[in-house]
Symmetry: C2
DNA sequence: CCTTGACCTTCCCATGATGGGAAGCTCCAC
DNA sequence: GTGGAGCTTCCCATCATGGGAAGGTCAAGG
């Protein structure tokens, strides 16, 4: 199987397959006489695993961990659960953050006439002197 | 005001202030004899505007649009609302996507014993031949 | 046999937003 | 005049991905 077919079969772009090989996520593939990479079902299976992990939002680093665990027949499921759980916490945090933004934005959009007058509460809010995160660097404050 | 003070006052790092100038998001600042950038209240106000827009999750490009609208006294609030509304849709889509991931992951983690046995439904699912996005490129399929 | 074009290879560059750090100024306080 | 904090520019790294160039290869069809 050539890289294009492996790409087709796994849903991972050829570009990414080469990249994964380059960063060591997958083993360097054997080559045919014409220097083409050769793939088998095993490799496609691995690529699919990676694809699914990425679809679930795992980073490549996390995916690597999962991949190793997957290939380690003696692993403990607790190790996997730990990775997944950390990721769940991550997702929850990001979702909460985005929901905060969403709420604010919706409120502003609601208050905005959306007409042909320049008056706009959205811009007023952005410009407003509301709580700006207090800058806390260790500057000398030499005014 | 030097860049450090402007940074303090706006909550935008000096590094980012220079970057915003470089990409044309803000006007190049005047310099003193020693080649230091000089900032006034006006600029700090703009930086705060940018900071707040970024905090709401607007990209720098969207922020630029909002910034221009802000400075255009004759703008129509409809234009602003449009940007905000598009962003709301964006946020909603991303939140929904992440919630989908979260749901799947939680389910998997729930089913996972998390013990010292290698049996693990999370890995089983990742490896599983569930629906893999059908690859659709225009390959010749020369098997 | 030769062309065509789809495929493969490597290499470099770009994204978006930010940070890190080096090398070399300036400025201020002591 | 010295130390150190601040400023300047410049380059590099991140993360995951794509774009594209330049060149080799293979298969099909005229």
């Amino acid at each position: 199987m050539n890289i294009g077919e492996a790409s087709n079969a796994s849903g991972v772009s050829a570009k990414m397959i080469r990249y994964y090989e380059e960063i060591g996520l997958i083993r360097p593939m054997g080559r045919t006489g014409n220097n083409y990479r050769v793939y088998g079902e095993e490799e496609v299976h691995i690529l699919r695993f990676i694809k699914r992990a990425r679809n679930l939002g795992f980073s490549l680093e996390e995916t690597e961990t999962l991949l190793k665990l997957w290939q380690d027949k003696s692993r403990e499921s607790a190790a996997v659960k730990e990775v997944a759980t950390a990721h769940i916490g991550d997702l929850e945090r990001r979702i909460a953050e985005m929901q905060g933004m969403l709420k604010t934005l919706k409120h502003l959009a609601n208050c905005c006439g959306g007409d042909n007058r320049p008056n706009c509460p959205i811009l007023d809010d952005l410009a407003g002197d509301g709580t700006v995160a207090p800058a806390k660097n260790k500057m000398k404050q030499n005014a």
